[in-house]
């Protein structure tokens, strides 16, 4: 897997080398062949594949089951066998498909330039070596954490079960702050550019982050809260969303951009099951109290119920009447004690649903719905119950402005409109002790409110801002 940060900074150099190499080839016949340097996969071949082939041969859409976004995948090949056979251009399908007067690839596009084909052919003949510099794989590490010239958008927030810590999403990292905002405890640097969801396990031992880098990979990170060591694994070719632990902390679930749900064993971070009841991106998940069912929401506007043990789809919890649903559902939270799920999305209305239907479906009914709450302006991106489920906090965005409110769960009373959200709110979290809520979003500022008065307690930018340095990328 190539790191994009590196790819950007060296690509122009690669292009320059490429041009020099073409010049070398064209003059090779009448000049000294010895002057020709070996073709570089990283600097010369990869950019050609990336620009001309990766639109169709990518993890999310592997045409001919072939992926051309990494050296390993190219070697592995697709339906027509390995992409390259080292030293044997004539037996390499990659060379075969792009060569000739009317090459088979690229499909519905101009053939590659002759010099490009010659370059790739020569690279195979020279042994098809991967020269991706190991040192260039990544320039962000725990020792060299990211620098910020602007605060990153806050996409996820999570309080620890003991109400002592507040985990905040950053760029390539998670920022663990003290829950009262009095200081940074730890920077957890990982590979994912985006952290879409943060979740502490109920037993408090793990902080789970799901996310990834858009269009490249989707990752789950488990951080051991005792020593902040990391376990991580990729589960998709694009970012993952909406992580959730079962109440016994043994199973973990998240949604994916390939419309699937991932069920993961916490013990060894292995994939237990992939399920596909949805027809669009899955953005939120939740387990039933007993852990036997999983409830998911997504861009296909539906809340769906499936069985954990066998992955079987059971029911649409929301109405299936055409026109009853508007826009996607983006957030879901289970009531702390009961199998009731609070959801919100494009229509701005928080809605509470019971999980199990106890009456036969009639066309047009919305039987599982328990109640709705006064809609917020724009789209709901996040919501969270307090510790006993008697209240919840919900945040929304109109793209221009944001809103955060606290409601009573039972009588739907609007308790507080939390002030100061001039821009989109993408993340909210209720502190487990019920005393505070935290909000974050487009402006990159964390706001802490007193949950009993609705008053702003503290606001802060969760990262250190470094002034822009001329010439720094």
């Amino acid at each position: 897997m190539f790191d994009v940060v590196v790819a950007r900074s060296t690509r122009r150099l690669g292009a320059a080398v490429l041009i020099l190499a073409w010049a070398g080839i064209t003059s090779a016949e009448d000049a000294k062949p010895a002057a020709v340097t070996p073709v570089s996969f990283y600097r010369q071949v990869r950019p050609v594949l990336q620009r001309n082939c990766s639109g169709c041969h990518q993890p999310a859409k592997a045409g001919g089951k072939l992926v051309l976004t990494s050296f390993e995948a190219l070697q592995h090949g697709g339906d027509n066998g390995p992409g390259v056979v080292a030293g044997k251009p004539a037996e390499s399908t990659l060379v075969e498909f792009i060569s000739g007067d009317k090459p088979q690839m690229p499909l519905k596009a101009e053939p590659l330039k002759k010099a490009q084909v010659e370059l790739i052919t020569r690279w195979v003949a020279e042994g098809a070596k991967d020269d991706t510099p190991a040192a260039l794989q990544d320039n962000i590490t725990a020792e060299h954490p990211p620098l910020y010239t602007n605060p990153p958008v806050v996409t996820a927030l999570a309080y620890s079960p003991d109400s002592q810590l507040l985990a905040v999403s950053g760029f390539r990292e998670i920022l663990v702050h003290k829950a009262d905002g009095s200081g940074l405890v730890k920077r957890l640097v990982g590979r994912s550019q985006r952290i879409e969801s943060l979740e502490f396990s109920p037993d408090g031992k793990i902080l789970a982050a799901v996310g990834g880098t858009p269009s490249l990979f989707g990752e789950v990170q488990f951080w051991n809260t005792a020593d902040w060591t990391e376990r991580s694994a990729n589960f998709a070719s694009d970012v993952l969303f909406g992580g959730w632990f079962s109440d016994d902390s043994k199973l973990f679930a998240c949604g994916a951009a390939d419309n699937g749900i991932r069920l993961i064993k916490v013990e060894d971070l292995s994939l237990l099951r992939k399920m596909d009841p949805h027809s669009d991106w899955v953005l939120g998940t939740g387990f039933s109290v007993d852990g036997k069912h999983i409830v998911t929401v997504g861009r296909d506007m539906a809340m769906k119920l499936s069985i954990v043990d066998n992955g079987q789809f059971v029911d649409n919890i929301t109405s299936i009447t055409p026109g009853a649903l508007k826009g996607g559902l983006m957030a879901i939270r289970r009531h702390p004690q009961r199998d009731e799920f609070l959801t919100g999305g494009s229509d701005g209305e928080p809605k509470l649903y019971k999980m199990i239907r106890t009456q036969a479906r009639q066309i047009g009914d919305d039987y599982n719905r328990i109640r709705g709450y006064a809609p917020l302006p724009g789209r709901i991106f996040a919501l969270d119950f307090n510790g006993d489920g008697s209240k919840f906090v919900v945040g929304s965005s109109t793209a221009m402005t944001g809103a955060v409110r606290i409601y009573n769960t039972e009588d739907a009373k609007l308790l507080f409109e939390l002030p100061g959200h001039s821009r989109a709110v993408f993340a909210v979290d209720f502190r487990p002790d019920g005393a505070q809520v935290a909000t974050g979003g487009f402006d990159g500022t964390i706001r802490l409110f007193d949950a009993n008065t609705g008053a702003l307690v503290k606001q802060f930018v969760p990262v250190e801002i470094t002034p822009a340095v001329a010439g720094q990328k």
Binding site: G55, T69, E196, R299, A424
Partner: protein, 815 residues
Amino acid sequence: MHTSKLAIYLWAGLICGWPAGVMSAEPPQVAIVELQVQPTSLELTGASDSRRVLVTGKTADGRYIDLTADAQLTVASPVATLDADRFVAPHTVGDTVLNVTYGGQTVAVPVKVKDVTHTPISFVRDVLPVLTKTGCNQGACHGGQQGKAGFKLSLRGYDPQYDYAALTDDLAGRRFNRAQPEQSLMLLKPTQGVPHEGGFLFDEDSRYYQLLKRWIAEGCQFDTVDRVQSLEVIPKSLLLDDVGQKQAQIVIAKYADGSTRDVSRDVGYETSDFEKAVVDKAGNVTAVRRGEASILIRYEGAFITNVCTVLGKREGFAWKDTPEFNFVDTAVNNKLKRLKVLPSELCTDAEFLRRLKIDLTGVPPTSEQTRAFLTDTRDSKTKREAKIDELLSGPDFIDFWTMKWSDLLMSNRKFITEKGVWSFRNWIRNAIATNVPYDRFVSDLMTANGNTFENPAANYYRISREPRLAMENMTQVFIGTRFMCNQCHDHPFEKWTQIQYYELSAFFAGVGRKPGASAEEEVIFSQPNAQVVMHPKSGQPIAAAFPYKHAGIDSTLTDPREQLANWLVSKENPYFAKSLANRYWSYFLGRGIIDPVDDIRQSNPPSNGELLDALTADFLAHNFDLKHLIKTIVSSHTYQRSIETNLFNQDDNTNYSHGSPRRLGAEQLYDAVMEATGSPGTIPGVPAGFRATQLPDGKVDLSFLDMFGRPPRESPCECERTSEVSLSQTLNLINGPTIGDAIAHPQALIGRLVAEKADSKRLIEEVYLSVVCRFPTPAELKQGEEFLAQVPSPAEGAQDLMWALINSPAFLFNR
């Protein structure tokens, strides 16, 4: 120069790219006598204000050639630089000179840089144009109804707020990365830094990349600046002499605050006819073939067209004065002179009579009428004028134009029952017969109330039962525009917006409908909020408003339909009279000056604006007198031109330099067959002798009419009537019962002549007069007589002759 100064100079050059501003060019290949540069001076305000110049060379033989790409450009001092597209870009405040050199000649263009500050990137003015120019928001990509791969933008950026939400808000800001702008998905996708099905669009060094990156780094802000107000193109109208010749363009965007921008490389260009001229992404037009094409220039909801004329080789052309019968001919000929096209001669009297009679009444002249007209000894112009007056006041004219308006108003028993169809037909007939002024005719329809039997005009609202449908039909028929295109998004080729679609519809919200005494009638009445037009996004009721305003609107009216009618039929309405004049013109000349006639838009300019304006002005000056309009058209030399072409008009199809054969419409053809054969046609369900043009609607079962393209009257589109030629039509004409039975009918022409024992000369003469409306030539007569002498029965011979003539273009077409 002092050494240290030189060093500073070189250093400055290295940093800012100057003196790389000297761009080399191809060696001159064309000898020129004069070099011209447009504009003659440049003023640059702000760091992003880059502008181009057009360079034109005049050759010794007086032609102008575009040298924009070939001239050498040099900026005299580092006040400004030349960028990769050869635009002059500001660098420091001050004055300098752009030297333009070609073929040994140099023109100095003063350049003033007033300001070099960077203003924040505007989402509306800067970012959206990039998304449009690079195609992100086109219909086939993210601008489609469902977007693409989960990412949807508004079609060509008509809805900035929606697009802002898509880029910054969807999926919690997935598509931008303020912390590290170059890691933003919206930059990685178009550069193929990550896989992108839409492919590679621009690289990291491009202006577009830098602009988007800067916008992200500045915090992805939204702004509410005004969008572009109008566009100006230089040169206005393009004249290219030779095939393959190129011409660059400058497009200037003008804003409400008075500022301007050179957007030549940022606008979208499209050609209306790629067989005549093509245009590339940078706006360079290349002549393909002699003729005309209009170049549509589109930028952020504003449109402008640049008409491109490819003259081609016209050696030996000399204009010959041709008679001008009225102002129509003057306007037509002015255009022909410019294009070096020579009009055809006047058609013959026989051709004129047939052409006129079919166009005015739907039926060809009888043999007696033809004989009388051809033997009339008055001079041709006098008797033609007399014939025009005679036909315009005759009963057949009323029938035929009743049919045309019944088509447009969709009089169809499916909507208004059979009884309704007859009563609506009679109402239209009466309007045609009394030549009701067009403004009153339309006003009566728009404001119609009451029982549909007592006031048949109210049938209009039985046919258009929903406010939006009533509005769509109204705009297509009466102002010749297609508002249905902006129902779901702003009109992609016009200024009309989605909101205007609903606002205009709201005028019809107060149309109440209740059952009448019988099931066949209905009562139309004004009732506030009988139906409600909802705003497409907010879901709130929307108030009625006009999409454009003009003088002469009566603000005292309160009934919405009264207001609408007052606005619609006003002489000040720029579309109302014009669209009708254009539509009527197309009925006689085969092609609208704006074509299609019901798709008037800025991007579909008239082929002859002077002609359309003159026709419209004359129609208005005569207070919407439809018969006067028709008379003006058919009295012109232009209408009466022969279909015979000459060397200098044979490739003209759009400028009315010669007559154009038009296939007879379905009803015309049926009636012509009956007229020519003398057969008493029998149409089921109507009295004997009833003509096809007299039928109330398309539900009268006559498959012949459907085969030849009778409109089903389900939409107000002029395109419902088809005039194509198909194999099944040809087979029907050759073998079908309609023609065969009509020819052989015992009471038909040949049967009568044979019964009278007519000789072969008379038989042949009568067949020619009846079918092709002229006397046979001596050669045809001789050939015919020889043929009749060979066959056993003169009746069969005459029938065969008639059959052959009916199957000839001279019969099937109005020529």
